[in-house]
């Protein structure tokens, strides 16, 4: 990984120098050993602080929303799974391809202080959905993280309704509505969230009752359904360690089972499972029947 | 066993699962019944008489033993009434009355010979006694 980082750094400095890009979006070390944060670099000197490696877990796609509005091109480093988020934002016309120079970064699985990241345990792909050039190594092309992505969902599905209810109440009731999940999510990109908009009728800033965090998380999962690439950032950043990704993965699992395999950000089709249909789709009653079998 | 009109009617309706009010009185059941001429009351009459509560008349008629159980009337009824099931239910109700077996076990056994198939004897046991 060190070697990849060095190549990346050299390449970024060169691109800055020849004027191809005006800035570089990457990572720098924070206070702690594992605490690497997204950072913006505008020249070769600043690039000294640039790092890439095992702790560059953060998905930089969402930062591109603001960067895309600046003059000139931005170089952005995207790991394979990050490219899905980026491409999805292109599908949604939130990013302009020409405003970015994308270096696809080889990845051998990311970590934090607790070990491998959740998303890396069940790595979706080593393919880059979008890039200008790739800097990787033989090592990084090997598959990593072969855990079943849907195992956690399947476990919950096996429980009784009451068990599931108790599980989720236990988790969601710990929500402090810090909005970290929303802020980091590359699919949660509304200029103004319905929950912040007094005119929406569902505005809520902090949870007053047990219901509101339910509402917030159900609607958040629902609003990103079909657009969520399963990047796992929501769970990664949650200070309360709520497994929010289990909500998104449930919807992904259902959509895959009912409407055919689909990965947000992959391919060129802009329609998501929820903005398309077939005449033979299952009836909503399938939810009821499936549970009874 | 109670024998009020209400009890008998309700029992027949319940155990047969037939709703005689669905009948539009077209007579197709009787038009298709292969044993019509032998019967005192015909399939369509079973439907209207059960609806009117005249169960005892039906119970006391040999017609309940003359139904071939062939289900032609059930199959062909355009209203899904199933008159044949009513005949069967009335017959069953009769057998459930005290001392109302059509034949005793020995009587049925007496039919046995070299050729009569076992299942016919078994069927007779079921149809004639309880």
């Amino acid at each position: 990984m060190q070697e990849i980082m060095n190549r990346m750094k050299a390449r970024a400095i060169a691109l800055l120098a020849d004027g191809t890009v005006s800035r570089v979006m990457g990572w720098e070390k924070g206070e702690g050993e594992y605490d690497w944060s997204p950072a913006l670099f505008e020249n070769a000197e600043e690039m000294e602080a640039f790092v890439y490696g095992d702790y560059a877990g953060a998905n930089l796609s969402k930062y591109c929303l603001k960067l895309g509005k600046l003059e000139g091109k931005t170089l952005v480093i995207l790991k394979p799974c990050d490219t899905l988020s980026f491409k999805q934002l292109i599908h949604e016309h939130r990013l302009e391809r020409e405003k970015f120079y994308i270096i696809g970064a080889g990845c051998t699985g990311m970590k934090d202080e607790k070990g491998a990241l959740l998303k890396c345990n069940a790595c979706k792909s080593k393919e880059f959905a979008i890039y200008d050039e790739i800097i990787d190594s033989e090592e990084s092309r090997k598959p990593t993280g072969v855990m079943d992505r849907m195992a956690g969902v399947a476990d919950l599905e096996q429980m009784t309704a009451q068990e599931r209810y108790d599980f989720w109440q236990g988790e969601l009731s710990r929500c402090i509505r810090c909005n970290a999940c929303r802020n980091v999510c590359p699919a949660c990109t509304c200029i103004k969230c319905v929950f912040d908009n007094p005119a929406s009728g569902v505005q809520s800033k902090a949870p007053v009752t047990s219901f509101e965090e339910n509402m917030f998380h159900i609607i958040r999962a629902y609003h990103v359904a079909g657009r969520c690439t399963d990047c796992g950032e929501c769970s990664r950043v949650c200070p309360q360690n709520i497994p929010l990704h289990l909500l998104n993965r449930k919807l992904i699992k259902d959509m895959n089972e009912l409407y055919g395999e689909y990965q947000a950000g992959e391919g060129d089709e802009e329609r998501t499972p929820l903005t398309s249909y077939t005449k033979e789709d299952a009836e909503p009653g399938i939810v009821h029947e499936r549970g009874r079998a | 066993m109670e024998n009020s009109v209400k009890f008998l009617t309700e029992t027949v309706l319940r155990i047969s699962g037939v709703d005689p009010r669905k009948c539009m009185k077209c007579g197709k059941c009787s038009g298709t019944c292969p044993n019509y001429d032998a019967m005192e009351y015909h399939p369509h009459q079973f439907v209207s008489m059960v609806e009117k509560g005249q169960i005892e008349k039906l119970m006391n008629s040999d017609s309940i033993y003359l139904c071939l159980g062939c289900m032609a009337c059930v199959e062909r009824c355009p209203r899904n009434v199933a008159p044949g099931k009513l005949v069967g239910a009335v017959a069953q109700l009769k057998l459930r009355q005290q001392d109302m077996n059509r034949k005793g076990g020995n009587d049925v056994a007496a039919f046995a010979d070299e050729i009569v198939p076992q299942q016919l004897l078994m069927a007779a046991m079921r149809k004639y006694r309880k």
């Binding site: 219901f211 159900i218 359904a225 009912l258 249909y277 077939t278 009821h288 | -």
Partner: protein, 147 residues
Amino acid sequence: MSVNNPNWKPKIVAFCCNWCSYAGADLAGSGRMNYPADVKIIRVPCSCRVNPLFILRAFERGADGVIICGCHPGDCHYTSGNYYARRRLTMLFSLLDYLGIERDRTRVEWVSAAEGAKFAKTMNEFVETIYSLGENRKLSDIRCKKS
């Protein structure tokens, strides 16, 4: 459970599309086909107008069941609205079920303008289901419950 409160009457919200199901409900009415007064209908232009927010809001405010009725698939007045609704509601219901909410509190039924009897039958069945489930406690906002 309803045993706690013998006087409990469920609150049931029925979203009906203007073209088929609302007309079907009218037909049930002119045919004097009874169904419990617990059902209150909200008219929407199409089943695809039903936002999951409305459904959650209803539960939050104390509804015990929410049913969405629209034109039969293929018969949508707007051609495709109910097809989208079908996917959206399937996903929402599945998610609610996943969160442990009684799945029978939600239902989708396609009722045409000519199906007054089906409308009444559906509502009777749904109300019966809700009675058997009892009060909705899992999703409601306690502030909204009248004691």
